[in-house]
């Protein structure tokens, strides 16, 4: 046991933390060692000074009653928290119906905003035109210019018009 450990043991003895044989053995060693005797006396005096200068702090109530009050206070706060968190039946109804409705409304709004719109070509469809298609397989788009000076029928029908035109003259 080194010197530091012996000093800590003496401190423990003064604080009453050593008992039985261990305390007796250390006491004998202190009795035979002048340095340890001095340390023991100094620590004992210091402990006495601290003990005398410490102000008593009595509890306002008895210990059990004091801790009961704290426990009751904690339980009261927990009950209050549960009351706030628990939705009322009306709130529950609103949450059950309004939350899905709000979700569906949001999706509908987004889909509406993302609907593909016709490109703004500065032309509008006019009803003063008749169009007859001989085949349902051909898709057409019809537009009229704003001033109605040009009507366009775009057919989903490919023709190699340049080659056909050249062949017309070669025939």
């Amino acid at each position: 046991m080194n010197e530091n450990e012996i000093q800590l043991k003496v401190q423990a003895l003064v604080d009453g933390e050593l008992t039985g044989r261990e305390a007796e053995e250390l006491q004998q060693r202190i009795n035979n060692d002048a340095t340890l005797q001095q340390l023991h006396e100094r620590l004992t005096q210091m402990r006495g000074l601290i003990a005398n200068s410490e102000l008593p702090r009595p509890l306002p109530e008895s210990g059990d009653f004091y801790w009961n009050k704290i426990a009751e206070s904690i339980e009261r706060e927990e009950r209050a928290g549960e009351r706030i968190a628990k939705p009322t039946p009306a709130n529950r109804w609103l949450l059950r119906w309004l939350a899905p409705l709000a979700g569906v409304s949001t999706v509908v709004l987004l889909l509406t905003l993302q609907q593909p719109t016709a490109p703004d070509l500065g032309i509008t469809l006019s009803s003063d035109h008749e169009l007859e298609l001989s085949s349902d397989e051909i898709d057409v788009m019809t537009y009229n210019s704003d001033d109605d000076s040009m009507s366009i029928v775009w057919l989903d029908y490919s023709m190699d018009i340049q080659k056909d035109y050249m062949e017309l003259w070669l025939d």
Binding site: G122, D128, L131, S134, S135, S151
Partner: protein, 137 residues
Amino acid sequence: MGLLLFGGGGGLALVQADSITVNARLVLGTGKEKQGSKKVSDSIRKRLAKVFKWMHYHQLSSKKLTIDDSKTVTSKLSKNASIKVTNQKNGKVSVSLFSGGKMLLQKTQALRSGHYMVLAGKSTGDSAWFIVLSKSN
């Protein structure tokens, strides 16, 4: 066909009242300019370029069709494409488009001077065909 005689300002004018003259143009729209080809008039080019992506419009052919009242005139614009134009009684013009002898569509509308009827579709590569019809003054 009826003939009307107008007098005014000391002059006389003879007009064929019920016949019309329609210009039918076969046009090729391309992204690149084709050297040596005849371009369409500025009026037609501007109108088409405002709507379509192609910037260059080459006039392959132009035919002037004089059509009497309630009569139909057929014009072959290319080997496979032809049109039949009818001068209807109500002042409207009916245009039928044929490809390979099969009618694709028929469009009927009032066609006034300075106005255009356009039939169009995709052609080979990044190009398009246009049949532009207008009424002559």
